[in-house]
Subunit: 392 residues, 2 copies
């Protein structure tokens, strides 16, 4: 196996068909570290969060940021059912027993339909086989097994001196993560063999999530199950912290962009960059409002350089912008300056937007020096088809 | 003409083809009162608001709530163009001259594409004919001429003792009005022959708008041009203020619901009612989050009783709800209690949702006694088709 396909040292992976996914196929992912790993997590801030979110958050506190095992399933969110917490707890307990570790050293995550009960024994009874199948090479299968409406796997990796960082993620709909510390349904699991102390790993994770996964949106709906886990088992020894932090953030950004690009029904990734804001919050508010506007997203789907919708979304964002200072550039072409129309060739710009897999929207507010970047996708009839059809 | 087709006394209407609408047809609406009318308005809070919004707001202040004339056009928002304010001012000045009133006694409103310049003379040159064509019976034509992507006119009326209240409105996309006082592109014009002093009319208007037009959404995008005008010319004399206020609010609610029901691509009106909130703001936040969720709206389009999306939207609203206290009823059928699934017949409920033009979503938060109602529509492929096609 070539070097670039090797996982970080000391991690093994497996996938199992536990019968959770209605459509069949592998739906259970197991990640096990051969040594106790520093563990960090961020979770959805949805008040109706799923049981695995509540339990994993508690486990991270109890273990003071140590974990050996991640158990993740697709096909059922394990959320808003009478026995959701029992399912999560039984899963962690069964995995802990098989790994000979404490339950608090097991992290769990789920994605799928909300409100449909699972049998408490369903995941635990599949875990023995999952443990038998563990293999250092099976991370690609694991990346595939957690997908739901995704059309492709999302995998990213970076090398960082002797250490490797590998991440995989899922998510295509109900995507607008706003995760708090040791608090998307996006799931992302990142493993590295660098050595990092738990508090530092949490700090690195929270900062990186705020600039990556928390800056994407498919539909503006924040899930009950969004979860990012980072495990660092130290098998490759020490690496300068700034470098490993950068590598982890780069892996997260690759994954976050891959989620936005694979949004339900999406044909294009959209990068919204807002500059000239008075402060970070203002830049973020405007970028998020533009990236979440159905009218902006449908215009991009139609290859329509309808910048008026961008200006309107910025104006309605709640940020105290001055429209007469706003400049807008679409795919590098200036279309609006001082809040009014510029002459530009609409048909060639429309063609350029339509021909590209990535569309750039740059908005300058002319009020200050702060900026924000937000990633989204175009909004097509495919999104409606996927979500207006009966639950799968 | 039967009584129920008579406009309030002392108002005349006309429609003209001024060549603003690319697709042709009447695009200019004139409403003239035969006596000076008390005038009230609410306008979009979009910072990138259109010139007619800025000018009419100023006119209402300058005239201390008096107006004779409303000039409205469809086909161009008169927003974000170098000469937008000149167009608005020239329109008001020309109408004032023809009506022999002051420019500040003329109110203007526009709807259509943003950022496309108009000729300053375009509306003024059509106004003489518009004034010649004024007629007390032409309000149905007027209600039709302001439509854009609407599929039908929105008209409502109430009688209130001797006084009549008549309103018409347009709006199908970019609908999430959040209007402030003497501050949607929804436009609504309401005329009554009741006598009401200007400050009272503004108070009645602002209160009624906050409970009607400000409680609807099609796509969550707040327009640059949303405007409600209410004129009361006193031709029918005095009416108890509480009664006329009620009639005005009823007319607004009819119009607001008609806008939500005719949302771009919509097949169903959706009524979201949140009860058991700790305070009004909490109830409003949750109702608005559910009504603006693409996943809730696509589920309703698909006749899918997927209440998990409703719970998730409530949980992500930002309101500090406790999911274990939440109960959800869909079309009168309890589907979730204490935050977990109830047994219900999914296929018959799905059928009931699909067979109705109006779907009811009732959410009880179990935290207090406050409630809020929000109106929206389902989200279908038609919305994408309308908005991803090139501008018309």
């Amino acid at each position: 196996m070539p070097e670039e396909q090797l996982a970080p040292r000391g991690f093994r992976f497996s996938t199992t068909e536990a019968g959770i996914r209605k459509t069949g196929g592998a739906d259970l992912v197991l990640i096990v570290s051969d040594a106790p790993a520093s563990a960090a997590g961020t979770f959805t801030n949805n008040r109706a969060c799923a049981a695995p979110v509540t339990l994993s958050s508690k486990h991270l506190r109890q273990s003071r940021g140590r974990a050996w095992v991640i158990v993740a399933n697709a096909g059922n969110a394990n959320c808003a059912t009478p026995n959701a917490m029992k399912v999560a707890e039984a899963t962690a307990a069964a995995a802990a027993k098989l790994a000979a570790v404490k339950p608090a050293e097991v992290l769990v995550a789920s994605t799928g339909v909300i409100g449909v009960p699972m049998e408490v024994t369903q995941i635990p009874s599949a875990l023995p086989q999952a443990f038998r199948d563990l293999d250092a090479h099976k991370w690609q299968e694991a990346a595939a097994a957690i997908l739901t409406t995704d059309t492709r796997s999302k995998i990213a990796r970076r090398d960082c001196g002797p250490a490797r960082v590998l991440g995989f993620a899922k998510g295509a709909g109900m995507i607008h993560p706003r995760m708090g510390p040791p608090h998307a349904t996006m799931l992302a699991f990142i493993v590295t063999d660098a050595r990092i102390a738990p508090p530092n790993l949490q700090k690195i994770t929270s900062a990186a999530v705020s600039r990556t996964f928390n800056c994407i949106s498919v539909d503006g709906d924040t899930s009950t199950n969004d979860t990012v886990f980072v495990l660092a088992n130290g098998a490759a020894g020490n690496v300068p912290e700034a470098r490993i932090a950068k590598a982890i953030e780069e892996v997260m950004l690759d994954l976050a962009k891959a989620i936005a690009a694979d949004g339900e029904g999406a044909r294009r990734l959209v990068k919204v960059e807002v500059t000239g804001a008075r402060n970070d919050a203002e830049a973020d508010t405007v970028a998020r409002a533009i990236g979440n506007s159905p009218l902006v997203k449908t215009a991009i789907a139609g290859g329509d350089p309808n910048w008026g919708r961008i200006l309107s979304a910025a104006g309605a964002s709640g940020a105290p912008i001055d429209p007469t200072k706003v400049a807008i550039t679409l795919q590098g072409v200036p279309v609006c300056r001082k809040g009014v129309a510029l002459d530009f060739n609409e048909s060639s710009l429309g063609y350029a937007m339509g021909a590209n897999r990535e569309v750039r929207v740059d908005v300058s507010l002319g009020r200050g020096k702060k900026k924000a970047v937000f990633w989204t996708c175009d909004l097509t009839e495919g999104y409606i088809r996927i979500n207006a059809s009966y639950r799968t």
